[in-house]
Amino acid sequence: MNAIRLLRLSSLLVLCGLATGAVAAPDGRELYIEHCSACHQIEGQGGIGLPLPAEKLADVSDDYLRKTLRLGRPGRVMPAFQRLSDAQVDAIVGFLRKRTETTERVFSDQPVDGDAGRGQVLYTEHCVKCHGADGSGEGEGTGVTTSRDRSFLVMPSSISNEGFLASAPDGMIQRVIAVGRKWSGMPAFGGAKMTDAEINDVVAYVRSFEQQVEEPEPLEADERPTHVYDSPYDFETTVGNVKAALTGANFRIFPDRLLEQGLTDEFSVNTRQIGIRFCNFSVLFGMLKTEPRLGIVLPCRITIMEREDGSVILTVPNLRVVSRWFNNDELVELWDRMEETFVEIVEEATL
């Protein structure tokens, strides 16, 4: 066997070993730390994501946890982990069980026999205050640390979310209504407050949210992550026009910053590429409550570049595209409106 064949065989063995190790024995703790802890914290105390205490996990099935991982909560920050293998999902569930020293509570897959019409009346009386008329959870914000309404122990669940409804069988919803969830402040409605039949009616109404799901407006097929505009003006005039338009729209403009500034020395930096950075702190503060991770796309910026032929272009992020990366419907709604403002500013500057 020559050296090249030996090297190839060695590489194959090493790669196979690594691959086999990764597939055969996923480490639930490591996977949890990698994928879950940023939002739920390492001990499950909750942060951007909801807390995961033993009391909660003891009241749900492993199937519910698996489906929750797979489907996430569309529009509510929790992503759908569709690329994890079944073994990896099982490992995370196993780790959660071990950490909380709980076993699953299994529910029947059979739908309950309830009347959604009567359930709506009861829901309006008992549930709207926290879960909202549309079941999305009252109040602004998506997490428990930065943005939650402090009068709640946790943000009320979005029980109309398609990820929740696809994960939770009727029996589980029935039990939560009956016994409540003390750790979250959710009261028990079983016994004196509601009969079993009434609880079933509420379950039927909650299930009816499946037909009422409102998804954000989808992106157009040809929508790009950035808008690029040609300016009819020279570089200096374009910069001046953009600043004037931003000031007129009540934005505060930060000091000019060249695209290459800080990346190279002052003599080499291209002075014909500039980012006009701007902010409205009042709006920003409100948006950070809705989406604490917004910093990764801040500050707002319009980049103006002079090309070799002297023509000038402006580039602006397409907020409709960017906002959808956050899986946060509240942000999508806000930024779809903000996008219109940005377009107006650039159009005014390039008229």
Binding site: L12, L15, A19, A38, R224, L263, Q273, G295
Partner: protein
């Protein structure tokens, strides 16, 4: 190498690389340490990966100046000038996403380190050159976050 061996090697490589393919739109890491210290580790790791830090944005300071109280919230901007020049010359619409940036956000005694996954942009481009560039940034960012986590883990372990 025969055809069977080649197929085996390809499969092994794909399985090995599949860890990097699990791309969400955001990369996040929670660090059980105060944000001021984590910020220093983030800056070091960025530089150790061959990037230059362009500037540091003090979001919390900016908000405080206008009366909005916030915990530490900083954004580190960084890049490689050659990459920025290549992108601005050939793919100007990507310039809006440069320099790269990592947000360091205090959450009580913990810190969230979060960054947009450059591969979120992949579906919008067919060009191989961009796909390679986005993949390289993604790998570097994953590595930066892992190094920060590892370094701080060692520090915490040493302190115990």
């Amino acid at each position: 190498m025969n055809c069977l061996q080649a197929k085996g090697l390809w499969l092994a490589v794909m399985l090995f690389l599949s860890g990097f393919a699990q791309a969400d739109n955001m990369l996040m890491s929670r660090i059980p340490m105060r944000a001021e210290l984590v910020l220093e580790y983030v800056k070091s790791s960025i530089e150790e990966h061959g990037y230059t830090i362009a500037h540091l944005q003090l979001c919390d300071g900016g908000m405080k100046d206008f009366g909005y109280e916030s915990d530490l919230y900083r954004v580190v901007f960084f890049g490689k000038v050659d990459e920025v020049r290549m992108i601005s010359s050939r793919y100007p619409e990507l310039v809006s996403y440069l320099p790269l940036k990592i947000a360091v956000i205090a959450e009580k005694d913990d810190t969230l380190v979060t960054v947009l996954n450059p591969e979120a942009l992949s579906p919008f481009y067919a060009e191989e050159e961009i796909q390679i560039q986005l993949g390289r940034w993604h790998s570097d960012l994953v590595s930066i976050l892992e190094d920060v986590r590892r370094a701080i883990g060692k520090r915490i372990a040493a302190a115990r």
